[in-house]
Each structure stands twice: as C-alpha cells, then as structure tokens.
C-alpha cells in the first residue's frame, strides 16, 4: 500500500515526485487510453458507423425526388444540399455521444479521474469525427456526382467538409453534453445546436459556390479553419462543464 502510516511530509514529497514525473504524460496517456477504448467500441459495433452515411445518402436522394431531377437545377443547389445533409447526419449521430458512458457509469470515472475533463471530451469527439465526419467527407464527392456538382467544386467541397465536420462534431458535443442527463431529450439537442451550425453552413456552401464560379476560396477556407480552431479550444471546455452539470441530475 502506498499510503501506510508514513509521516505526512514524506508522503507529500512522494506525491510531488509522482506529479512531476507523470501529470502531463499521464493526461496524454489517459487521452489515448480513452481514444483506444472508444475506437474499439465502434469496431465492435461496426453497423453503427454506416447509419449516418446511409442517412446522408438518403437525405441527398430526397432533393432530386422532391424538387427536380433537372441537371442544371441540381447543379445549382448541389453544394447546399450536400452540406445541409452532411450537417444533419453529423448532428443526429452526435445525440448518443455521451449516452452510453452516462448509463454505464464510465462517465463518473472520467469525471473523478485526475485529468482535465476537456481532454477526455476531446478524445471522444475525435473518435466521433473519425467514424462520422471523415467518412461523410469521403462519401460526399460520390454523392456530388449524382447531384451534378460542376467539376470545379469537387476539391473545395472535400476541403470544406474536411475543415467543417470537425467543427460540427465539437460544437455538437456541447449540446450532447447539456442534454445527456435528461430523461426525455427528443429533438431538444437539435434545437440547441442547429442555430450554432449556421456559420459553418454559410461558409461551407459559400466556398463551393465560389469555386464553381471560378472565384478564389482561400478566404473561405481560412475562416473555416479559424472557426475550427475556436471550436477546438472552447467547445471541449464548455462540454466538460456541461457534463459535470448533467451528472448532477
């Protein structure tokens, strides 16, 4: 036992040594540990990964059916349709981000572990993006073909989704954390988060439209990068604080 009847001073010294050795490293260690566990969980339930992708594909399919299959017309709305569908697919998959951990008690263990909760949130969000945002980004060009997106827009669509979907995952994590303790969530989380997604949507589609029209997109991408950085710094903190409240009941 590390803490038998040693005098307090000696014990304190021992503790300080332990922290100097380890705190930084061990938060990183806990980060990778949580990352690995969540990836393993996703791997065990592979079918869950496909669902947001199916949703994305079906949602995109609805637009030609609901509006018009005319190629010229579809080309005009392609960027918006792809972005809105990707955004909704991300949002719907985020609902369950913390639900399992809350139900089985591992969220408590994360909260009382001696690591910043924001770091643990970041690990979970990263896993979410790897299994949702990234596949959506990779799938989008294929759906863009079906939407007759002009060729000039492809690379920009891919880049904006690559920069935008992590922002969506990060911001959405705040909503998921705020609502995870509630018995009846329903569409509440969607209601909280959708308004916050609007800037990402505007610049994402704006960049693709600009690219199609042969205009520069560097500015858009820079703004999206800045939004991602802001979300990366602030969202895990907000989500961590929200998780503590949710655990409180």
């Amino acid at each position: 036992m590390m803490n038998d009847a040693t005098p307090r001073l000696a014990q304190k010294k021992q503790h300080i040594i332990r922290r100097e050795e380890g705190m930084q490293v061990s938060s990183w260690h806990a980060f990778t540990g949580t990352l690995k566990r969540d990836l393993l969980l996703v791997f065990r339930r592979r079918s869950d990964v496909v669902n947001p992708l199916l949703f994305f594909s079906i949602a995109v399919t609805l637009f030609p059916l609901g509006i018009s299959p005319e190629p010229d017309f579809l080309a005009q709305i392609a960027a918006g349709v792809l972005w809105v569908s990707a955004l909704l697919a991300t949002l719907l998959s985020l609902d369950s981000l913390f639900q399992q951990d809350m139900a089985d008690g591992s969220l408590e263990q994360l909260v009382i572990s001696p690591h910043p909760l924001a770091v643990m949130v970041l690990a979970k969000v990263l896993v979410h993006w790897l299994v949702t945002g990234l596949p959506l980004t990779l799938l989008a060009p294929m759906l863009a073909v079906m939407m007759f997106l002009p060729e000039e827009g492809y690379s920009t669509l891919f880049l904006t989704l690559l920069l935008g979907t992590p922002t969506l995952s990060l911001v959405g994590a705040i909503g998921a954390a705020l609502t995870v303790g509630l018995r009846r969530t329903g569409v509440l989380m969607t209601l909280l988060i959708l308004p916050l997604y609007i800037p990402v949507l505007i610049f994402g589609t704006g960049a693709v439209v600009s690219a199609v029209n042969g205009m520069a997109v560097a500015g858009h991408l820079a703004i999206m990068g800045a939004m991602l950085m802001t979300a990366l710094v602030m969202a895990p903190l907000a989500a961590g604080a929200a998780l503590r409240i949710s655990l409180n009941g």
């Binding site: 705020l178 308004p195 949710s246």
Partner: protein, 250 residues
C-alpha cells in the same frame, strides 16, 4: 473603491436584499417607462416628419428598433448573469438570467413581426431574407433553445447552470453568426435597401427613437425585477424572511 464594489456585489447576491431594493426601485422605473414610452410614441407617431421615401410607414421603427436593440442586449445580460451565477454560484444571478429569457424572446419576436409589417409596403413582401431579419430569426431560435433547456431540467440549479453555459456559447457565436449572415446576404442580394441604416436621420426623427429606446429599457428593468422577485419568493419560500413576509401579507 474596489472594496465597496465587492461588498455591493456580495449584497447583490443576497436574495433578500435584492427583493427589498427592487421593491423600492420598481415604482420609479415603472413611472419612467410609462412616461418615456408615452412621450416617444406620441412624438414619433404624430410630430416626427414623414420619411421622404417611405412616407408614414417608416414610423414603425419606433417599435422595431427598440425591440431589436433590447433583444440583443437582453441576450447579452442573460449570458453575463448566467456566467456570474456559474462562477460565483450566486443565486440571484441565476434567477435574473432565467427571468431574462422570455422577455428577450418576446422582444425578438416583436422585432421580427414589426419587420415583416414594415417589409410589406417597403419591399412588397412580408418576408425578405435581409441580413438583419435573418440574424434576428436566428437569435429567436437561440432564445427558444435556452428556454427549452431551462424547462427540460428537473433541478432548478442544474437548469440555471446548463442554460448559462448555452447562453455563453450563444454569446460567443452571435458575432460569428451576424458576420456570416451579413456576408451571405451581400453574396445573394448585393446592396439592397436597408431598413434602418438611413444615411442621415434628422434629429426630429431620431430623438423620439432615443426616448423610445430608453423607455423600453426601463420597461425591461421593471419586468426583470418583477419576474426575479417572483422567482426569489418561489425558491426561498422556506426561509424565515419569506415566511415573515407571507404572514405579514395575510
């Protein structure tokens, strides 16, 4: 100076003190609100000159603009109060934040509604995706989110904290949303006629507007204090001083 501020800040945190002081302030603010809004309305509707382009229909700004200004500043106050409640665990701040949301949402709705009425004669349509109107609409959604989150929690303390976090996240996002909507607007309909940005509004026009804005702030102060007092009574109903008040009343 700092010490008196800290002392004041702590007293502010006492529900009893807030209840007493607001009881004394409410009549004054109420009188000011009635007077200013009455003067502003009569002045704006009857005496201010008609607009050379829009004629008399412009007079709706005497409601539209104060409502829009309040809608934004109330959200700001709600986030600040929520933040104070979150950091210093001050109960009164939580209650103030909670009391802000419904009135703020109402103001946002009034701003949108009057904007639509104004839009009909000006643009020939009830709704136009104008940058300001769109931002207002998103602000209304943000208010709805905060109100919905507040009512979803069983515990009042958790409700207050959760909505404080949401309003703080909202306050960080509002400038980004406004900027992106304005940028989107110029992209889709370049340089349309703007509702409120008249190149130079003559003093006879903006003076009543100013009176109205101050009047609306006073009205807000009255409603905020009334709602917060209700909230205090509700939450502190088991304390001695509230029991004492109740026995005095009956």
């Amino acid at each position: 100076m700092w010490k008196t501020f800290v002392a004041w800040f702590h007293r502010m945190g006492s529900p009893k003190w807030f209840y007493e002081i607001s009881g004394r302030w409410i009549p004054w603010f109420a009188a000011a609100a009635v007077l200013l809004i009455a003067v502003g309305t009569v002045w704006g509707l009857a005496f201010a000159p008609a607009d050379y382009q829009q004629g008399n229909s412009f007079r709706i700004i005497y409601i539209h603009v104060p409502a829009a200004i309040l809608a934004q500043s109330i959200f700001f106050l709600m986030a600040i109060a929520g933040g104070i409640g979150l950091i210093w665990k001050m109960k009164v701040a939580d209650m103030v934040a909670k009391s802000c949301a419904p009135f703020g949402a109402t103001m946002t709705f009034i701003a949108l509604f009057t904007g639509a009425i104004w839009g009909k004669p000006t643009w020939g349509a009830w709704w136009v995706w104008d940058a300001r109107l769109t931002s207002m609409l998103i602000l209304l959604f943000l208010y709805f989110g905060v109100i919905a989150l507040q009512s979803a929690f069983d515990s009042k303390q958790s409700a207050a904290r959760a909505s404080a976090i949401l309003s703080l996240v909202g306050i960080v996002n509002i400038p980004i949303i406004k900027y992106s909507v304005e940028w989107w607007n110029t992209l889709h309909q370049p340089a349309t006629f703007k509702l409120t940005e008249k190149p130079a509004m003559p003093a006879e026009m903006w003076m009543p507007l100013l009176v109205m804005v101050v009047g609306f702030y006073c009205l807000f102060a009255v409603i905020l204090m009334l709602r917060t007092r209700n909230e205090i009574l509700e939450r502190e109903k088991r304390t001695h001083w509230v029991q004492g008040l109740l026995s005095k009343e009956s």
